[in-house]
Symmetry: C2
Subunit: 314 residues, 2 copies
């Protein structure tokens, strides 16, 4: 691991991810000075009271002044206006990065506002909880988690290596790919699962009151796993679907076709079709468990699933 | 808790659930004699080697002889033929129950084969893991989990109370409802989530090889939760969808309509529609967390979800 150090780091947004990064950077002594930018006074006060940053500003232009690293930690729809506000106040030679869940739109929105003397290295840590706000963060959030970097062609190797080292110092494993590739992969692994989870939980909220009470009561039979995902931050996820629209609609289309085929198999009582699919899907799980055992996964993964009442006459 | 005791219990099927019940009954001294019925010699040998049953039979008629309790623990599609085979060998006054994930079809398939002198009290423990087979069971599987009983109108109160006490002695909380109600509630909380999880994992298995490798690598971003569910026993789940077809197709129809509306909102960039839904779904999660804190849920529920990279500028 390369040792990495910054004189002044500006965190634009200090919610779960921003405050976790602040804590991780403090703990690993990665920065001399840490400052935050937050719209609400209450958030700035909380961040200062928690002692995770040295200063907190309302205006992003004030926050980025003299910073050699600026990290965008707000919902991605705010990136463009923010970059427009602070772009011309950036120090020459500064690096700008982010933690957004989509990458192509981020490049499109932010890059035009940055001076040529600044390196832009977009990033996405695959880590989080369903909590929000500066109190919810913790330093170990990124340990053993992937962080994907999607550097622009103009970014220097030095800047890329410094951002890579930053994440490695926070405990992450780093992968480099193009923004297009990132958005395609995450549409499958993250955006579609969230969309489905939001939908199924939404379908349940439209049930009669009695039914809803029983759904909550017996949620351990599978439904509960979906509610966890569907409790994620609404604004962040709105932005994900609006900014990665094409990739999401493409994979959603495939999913819908597959679901329709399954619906047809159920209606026609085609047991073999169902059993074949249900057997195939076990393979993917095996691949994930193998990758996990190979040490490339978070060891905190729960081993026992809720509810499958697996029966076997064999 | 009423104390309950059986002279001889016959478990038809000794997989994850059957073997867990055997262990729980042994541990709590609920039966003098425990016997199992299994199709495969290997399974019978394993059950005997594990010491969880006293005898193991290939023929269900042999297993149920003199039993005062018979528990069906095989995939539900086998219930009818099994009941036909052992029905006339049941002891007068015996109780028959089961652990199947659907209840209406179970009543239809089993009841006609049982003599009038026998009480039928169908049941469904909401518990399980993704593992199968007699080695996978453990005595505490049912602790703090719901077990739903759907007694037929003809079943005596004594029989119902004995089955209720059996599950309570194994650590479960018991709820009584009609088979129709059970199948409707479980279609929402369990069958639809499993169908969706199988579909999304199936969609991923159809991707190009490179894409699939990345899906496995970055599965912690949401997808992994689905693979756990989609690794459940294929035969058991085939039977669930075939036997609870109408309730599953009904809720699936609602889900598909909701998903189509969401797809339309994404295509038209209707951010408010998305954010409204994503905010509503948090409520259901809150209800579940509250119920959990009220002590009606398994305390083992993992508190931290994987991957939502929640960002907050507030």
């Amino acid at each position: 691991m390369t040792s990495v150090h910054f004189e002044k780091v500006a965190l634009i947004g200090i919610g779960l991810i921003g405050s976790s990064l602040a804590r991780a950077m403090r703990e690993n002594k990665l920065a001399d000075t840490l400052v935050a930018c937050a719209r609400k006074e209450e958030t700035r006060k909380t961040a200062l009271d928690l002692g995770i940053v040295d200063e907190a500003f309302e205006n992003p232009a004030d926050a980025v002044r003299d910073a050699d690293l600026v990290i965008l930690c707000t919902p991605v729809s705010t990136y463009g206006p923010l970059a427009e506000t602070f772009g011309k106040h950036l120090k020459a030679g500064a690096i700008v990065t982010d933690v957004g869940s989509v990458k192509q739109s981020v490049v499109n929105d932010v890059k035009p506002h940055l001076p040529d003397s600044v390196d832009f290295v977009p990033g996405h840590p695959i880590a989080g909880t369903e909590q929000s706000g500066p109190e919810a963060g913790f330093a170990s959030l990124f340990v053993n988690r992937w962080c994907i970097l999607t550097p622009t062609a103009e970014a220097s190797d030095t800047a890329l290596n410094r951002i890579r080292s930053l994440w490695e110092a926070c405990g992450s494993m780093v992968e480099i790919m193009t923004p297009e590739r990132h958005d395609k992969v995450l549409a499958v692994t993250s955006h579609l699962p969230h969309l489905i989870a939001y939908t199924i939980v939404g379908t349940a909220t439209d049930l009669e009151e009695d039914d809803q009470a029983d759904v909550i009561k017996f949620s351990a039979s599978g439904f509960r796993d979906f509610t966890r995902i569907a409790a994620s931050d609404p604004v962040m996820w709105r932005d994900v679907f609006l900014t990665n629209r094409d990739a999401v609609l493409e994979i959603l289309q495939r999913f819908t076709e597959d679901l329709t085929a399954l619906q047809r198999a159920i209606r026609r009582s085609e047991g073999d079709t169902l059993q074949d699919l249900f057997t195939r899907t076990r393979e993917i799980r095996r691949g994930i468990v193998d990758a996990h055992q190979a040490g490339t996964f978070d060891p905190r993964e729960p081993e026992v699933i809720e509810e499958t009442t697996d029966k076997d006459v064999s």
